[in-house]
Symmetry: C2
Subunit: 223 residues, 2 copies
Amino acid sequence: MRERPSRTSPYTVDVVLVTAMGNELAILLTRGSNERERWALPWRAPQAGETIGAASVRVAEDAIGELPIWTEQIGAFGDAKRHPSDAEISVAFVGLVPHQTVSPNAGYTWFPMRDLPPLSPRQRAIVEAATRTIQSRLDQAPIAFRLLPSTFTLSELQQMYELLLGKRLHKASFRRALQGAWLVEPTDEWRSEGRGRPAQLFRYAPKKRRRPHRGVRFDFLYP
Amino acid sequence: MRERPSRTSPYTVDVVLVTAMGNELAILLTRGSNERERWALPWRAPQAGETIGAASVRVAEDAIGELPIWTEQIGAFGDAKRHPSDAEISVAFVGLVPHQTVSPNAGYTWFPMRDLPPLSPRQRAIVEAATRTIQSRLDQAPIAFRLLPSTFTLSELQQMYELLLGKRLHKASFRRALQGAWLVEPTDEWRSEGRGRPAQLFRYAPKKRRRPHRGVRFDFLYP
DNA sequence: GACTTTAGTCTCATAAAGTGACTAATTCGC
DNA sequence: GCGAATTAGTCACTTTATGAGACTAAAGTC
């Protein structure tokens, strides 16, 4: 983050660290040491010999002192869009971080996704792509489960899905799909959350099942 | 392709050009000028100031003299896997090319995907990711349609989907889904292909429709 | 003309999804 | 203590999607 891109690294590795903060998704931004700089995604110009995977790990550790619970590469960004560095391209990663357990290091701040400060055009594009990456993987990896504590109520789980998908879900349908997927098992604990009936706590405990085999889907509207 | 990566470009842009060759998918490989080199995906170390998009276009034009009908970035590859260049990372693209109309330039050869010559580890990983990218976009972009001539029979379309997905599809289900998607319209032409009933020709002519709104899907089996 | 081959349709069975209403267990105001 | 409000959890009904096989149609082969 601090160093300028060296001659041997005209690319950067940028990481979008996402968390669920209350009812919103938030990402981690930094201004580095200079207070007058723009906010920016944490990034790093890898050392010679440092792989992009290793660089992304290091960026995350610099920011939160530990590893995200899930990481995926988003892609390479460049195409003339400006970046805090002079690098031609930036390889971007998303990482998910449970909010409760993690506090960012000095200089890093969570910003709700709906109210981000101005970013460089390239990093703005990276953030938008990060959202799409999360949503497209939501049904393939236990993303929502890992953003929650080890036990959780089904309402909490549904709210997490709603947050990540950016849309409301129907309670009965959600639970039916969840049951069919054999992904959670009930504990014998219940939690009373003020008013209303207490909710049973569940834990993530996936069981093997046969992969549903589907035909084709035509999901595109036009050209 | 010919040049070594310069000091200002320690990354390459690699392109997987895919076509349907008879009953198989094939990709375009080159050995460059040296007959004793390994076969490799077409790649290029971008000039200073050349964007990755522009570089991918140029790689494709060098290989087939025109643009693929559909292109998408696969991602950045590196992580210590070897590559024909010395570059730390390679940004990979997939491009689709209709086989009938395109003949590769000198030095480039189509290889069926099931029978590829040895590639560098990094390019091997790129090819595998290319397949996954195509399959995951197949329901979101008119990929199969563009690999076919402008008019085609529904059997041809189904075979193209089967080829791209790597699995058989049920005829009636396929046609029903296709009809529901309003993507093709019949022409008044028919084609007789030797024995059997002549098939009606269709053209790709998508009509607007409301996007199907679905709930959640839990498509992952375990961790 | 009977048989084969490919195209195209139909129907039935089953599974998945959308939806609203219903019951259950708790707190809050009074 | 009791009813309203609130949240959890389930049910029943409808609609839509999917899988599968059988059936009809139109050509060629012999």
